[in-house]
């Protein structure tokens, strides 16, 4: 008797859903009978999640981060959807699939959602997707190499930087100037300056300029 699985795939590109389907519906049809629902925007996705929470909950959710926001504007991304899903479908496994591979975004997602699976689309092959799928079904978390890298970097440092500090470093590394940072990070300029100094102290380079700060951050794997 094939185990029944109910999966919700959320992505705004039908081509990508097609890819997931093509991967999962090959080998796994032997073991599982997978029922796949599709949502291409936040409204549809949220509706499906709510509906399933009232009936049969999804076993697994494939969530893309970048999605057309909901019509009422309350849900703007896959991240928001995942949060709702965690509440509504506490038993569902959430797999994040995203094109974004920047450390701070990875960090945020891990921190806010702690998904069962975290896959970076650019790394992903169908075999890896399968591997992740199977592991997760067995109750093991699966993260892409990139995500694991991030973990490793975090572990080597005795401390971790919070999301805002990471954001600051990230934007600085992109060449955004300190004075423009308030546009990117929701902090005042003085607060940002304070945080920058804190980071420098943590790196034990108190009197360094931005260039040296970034070098150090790169070395320690925060960027």
């Amino acid at each position: 008797m094939k185990k029944k699985l109910k999966v919700l795939m959320i992505d705004d590109h039908p081509m990508i859903i097609e890819g997931y389907k093509n991967t999962l519906l090959g080998e796994n049809q032997k073991e599982y009978q997978i029922k796949i629902d599709i949502a291409s925007n936040c409204d549809d996705a949220y509706a499906s999640i709510v509906k399933s929470s009232e009936t049969v909950p999804y076993d697994m959710l494939f969530v893309d981060i970048k999605l057309p926001p909901s019509s009422d504007g309350s849900i703007t991304s896959g991240e928001d959807l995942a949060k709702h899903a965690k509440e509504l479908l506490p038993k569902s496994k959430i797999i994040i699939l995203t094109m974004h591979r920047e450390d701070h975004r990875i960090h945020n997602i891990l921190k806010n959602i702690n998904p069962a699976g975290f896959l970076i689309k650019s790394d992903l092959t169908s075999s890896e997707l399968l591997l992740a799928f199977n592991n997760i079904l067995k109750g093991k978390a699966y993260y892409s190499a990139t995500v694991n890298d991030h973990f490793r970097k975090m572990m080597t440092n005795k401390f971790s930087l919070d999301e805002k500090n990471l954001k600051i470093l990230y934007h600085l590394s992109r060449g955004v100037k300190t004075k423009n940072l308030p546009n990117y990070v929701s902090l005042s300029l003085s607060a940002i300056e304070k945080r920058k100094n804190q980071i420098k102290e943590m790196f034990s380079i108190a009197k360094a300029d931005d260039q040296m700060l970034l070098e150090e951050a790169r070395k320690r794997g925060f960027i």
Partner: protein, 688 residues
């Protein structure tokens, strides 16, 4: 009697003036000439030389004098020369010299020397032409009086006094007694003011003579005694005492106080040593004494005393004395009734009087002759007497009129001069006023002109800046558009193309896992290739969208474009650095424009003058100050040698507009550095 004083005054005058002249010259040739003149004059002074030699020396001195240029100096010298001619009794030369001196003084407007020259000429003329002498003295007096109005000099006062007493004496001689008295008193006051009493005896003597004519005999005697009093303080006490005693004697004689008169004549005669040297005065005293004796009927020594005096006078050919003596004798013999002897003496007196044209005595001679001659001759003499008396009266009147006229004319001239000077003043004021008006008009005109220029420059600058602002805005808009487009492309690539590509790859991969036709590996290779393509696209997308370029980049872009364009045209390499800490967006347009223009100006200078191969331009941000440094490797310039051209001036003015500093550092051969420092107000941090 006058002549004695005459000579005396003249010599004193000369001595005083010579003493005063002390030319102090600086120019060498002048000094040389002056020394030469002085030595000639000294030689002329030397009494051991013959008169001929002395005259020659004076002529030589005059010869050198005429080559002198300094007119003030010339006046002094020619006066000195004139004194020597006076000493040589060459009076015509004396007059010529002083006339020259007067002309020179007038030409250089030297009023003191003008007064002196007038006075000297007066001295010349007082010997014969009293009216001309009076005119000269009068001119001199006027100048001295005006000089003394604003000069307290005692010396000038003394000279003034001398002129006054000369005038008084001329007036006395022409019997204008009241005028003479006034002038004498004025002279006395002036001498007292000058604190020089040398001529006070002379002045009092004159006063005494005048008061005698007014028949105020007591006063006359008092004045004569005063003259002696003042003479005691001077050297010529004896001479003055003898003269004054003689005068007092005459006063008493006029009062018919013969005893008193006799007493004073005898007193005067007691100065035997002095009289031995001055026979003329001795003879006069003797004659006077004899006359008094005769009048008082004391005939003891008469006529011996008359004869004694007459003999002395005859021997020294003292003509006025001879006349007086002869008349006294005629009078004496007439009293004795010896008319024939009396008329012999009277005729002698008449002849001499005619000879020296002494009309007073001539009148007396006619008087006696008319009485002593027989009736026919007597009538003739009486007629001559009446005629002469009339003409004398006329002459007196004439003199008085003349002098009054001189005074009036000069007053008139003075008034005329005043009128002219008033007119001149009005003219000058008018001219000055017009000039001021014209100047004012001109200044206003220039002011307006420069205001217009300023306004024009201002509007030009404003429009310049407007153009630049538009240019910059254009550039910023362009940049924004470009950025927006890039962003869009980046997102499109990332989310659209990349997503779909990923989907395709995943599908292919999924299918490939299931297919078992032996081509799995080959397909895997292409799937990997797809993955690589994805990666590349992602990188491109990242690059495109990574940096949302801040708009201030546009300004720096504009700056860099300017540098690049200019350097390309002039084939110079450049290096440009912009400190990223400079918040160009927060800096006002005015400053940005100024920096832009400074850069443009500096680069123009470099291209025009420096012959540089490479330039380096830096914008640095230190302590809220923007430092712009423009450095070239050209030939440089000497900082102090080059006067500030309009370029450097523009830079300086722009920098000072921004409260900044600018430095131009250069040395010949070692390039030029223009460094501009402009403080930027620290931006207030927003806290939220």
């Amino acid at each position: 009697m006058y002549k004695v004083f005459f000579q005396c005054i003249a010599t004193l005058f000369i001595l005083t003036i010579i003493g005063c002249n002390d030319p102090n010259q600086t120019i060498e040739s002048k000094e040389l000439k002056s020394n030469l003149i002085q030595s000639y004059i000294d030689e002329a002074k030397n009494k051991q030389n013959s008169k001929e030699e002395r005259r020659n020396n004076l002529e030589k001195a005059y010869g050198i004098y005429s080559t002198l240029n300094d007119n003030t100096f010339k006046v002094e010298k020619i006066q000195e020369i004139s004194f020597q001619y006076y000493a040589l009794k060459d009076y015509d030369k004396y007059r010529d010299m002083n006339e020259k001196a007067l002309k020179l003084s007038i030409s250089i407007n030297d009023s003191l020397n003008m007064a002196r020259s007038f006075a000297y000429l007066g001295i010349y003329h007082r010997r014969s032409e009293l009216d001309i002498a009076y005119k000269n003295f009068y001119e001199a007096e006027k100048i001295y009086a005006s000089l003394r109005d604003n000069n307290e000099s005692k010396e000038i006062a003394f000279d003034h006094g001398k002129v006054l007493i000369d005038m008084a004496r001329i007036l006395q001689r022409t019997k204008d007694y009241s005028e003479s008295e006034a002038v004498t008193i004025k002279a006395i006051e002036t001498f007292i003011h000058s604190e020089n009493e040398r001529y006070l005896p002379l002045s009092y003597t004159n006063l005494g003579l005048i008061t005698k004519y007014f028949e105020q005999y007591d006063k006359a005697i008092e004045f004569h005694l005063k003259a002696i009093e003042y003479a005691k303080k001077n050297n010529n006490e004896i001479s003055q005492t003898v003269a004054s005693y003689n005068n007092i004697g005459i006063v008493y004689k006029s009062q018919e106080k013969y005893d008193k008169a006799k007493e004073y004549f005898l007193k005067a005669l007691s100065f035997k040593d002095f009289l031995a040297k001055n026979p003329d005065r001795y003879a006069r005293l003797l004659d006077n004494l004899a006359h008094v004796n005769f009048l008082s009927n004391d005939m003891e020594n008469i006529p011996e005393l008359f004869f004694k005096a007459y003999k002395i006078r005859d021997s020294i050919n003292n003509k006025p004395g001879i006349i007086t003596n002869a008349l006294h004798l005629a009078e004496y013999y007439k009293t004795l009734g010896e008319d024939s002897i009396s008329s012999i003496y009277a005729i002698r007196a008449r002849d001499v009087a005619i000879d020296i044209s002494n009309n007073e005595e001539l009148l007396n001679a006619y008087q006696i002759l008319s009485e002593t001659s027989d009736s026919k001759e007597g009538l003739k003499y009486a007629q001559a007497h009446i005629k002469l008396d009339d003409s004398l009266e006329k002459q007196e009147r004439l003199f008085k009129d003349k002098f009054a006229r001189i005074r009036f004319e000069t007053k008139e001239i003075a008034e005329e001069n005043q009128q002219i000077s008033r007119e001149n003043q009005i003219l000058i004021i008018a001219i000055l006023g017009l000039t001021a008006l014209f100047l004012l008009g001109y200044i206003i005109f220039r002011q307006q002109q420069s205001n217009k220029e300023l306004l024009f420059a201002q509007t030009q600058q404003e429009s310049n800046e407007e153009i630049y602002r538009l240019l910059l805005n254009q550039q910023i808009k362009l940049e924004e558009g470009r950025q927006l487009e890039q962003q869009r492309m980046s997102e499109e690539l990332h989310d659209g193309v990349l997503g779909r590509l990923f989907g395709v790859r995943l599908s292919l991969d999924g299918i490939n896992q299931r297919a078992n036709d032996g081509f799995t590996e080959a397909r895997n290779k292409y799937i990997d290739e797809l993955k690589a393509i994805e990666k590349e696209i992602r990188l491109i997308s990242h690059d495109l969208g990574a940096e949302t370029l801040p708009s201030d980049v546009a300004y720096i872009d504009a700056v860099e474009n300017l540098i690049k364009d200019l350097c390309e045209v002039h084939k110079i390499t450049f290096e440009f650095n912009n400190d990223e800490d400079i918040d160009w967006e927060g800096i006002d347009d005015q400053k940005k424009v100024n920096f832009f223009r400074i850069l443009q100006e500096s680069m123009q200078n470099i291209f025009k003058h420096a012959h540089a191969d490479h330039i380096k331009i830096n914008f640095d941000y230190v302590d809220s100050t923007i430092n712009l440094t423009i450095l070239d490797d050209g030939i440089g310039f000497k900082a102090n040698k080059v006067k500030k051209g309009i370029g450097l001036k523009n830079i300086t003015s722009r920098v000072s507009q921004m409260n900044g500093e600018v430095q131009f550092l250069s040395n010949e051969g070692s390039g030029t550095t223009v460094s501009v420092r402009v403080p930027i107000a620290a931006k207030v941090e927003e806290v939220y």
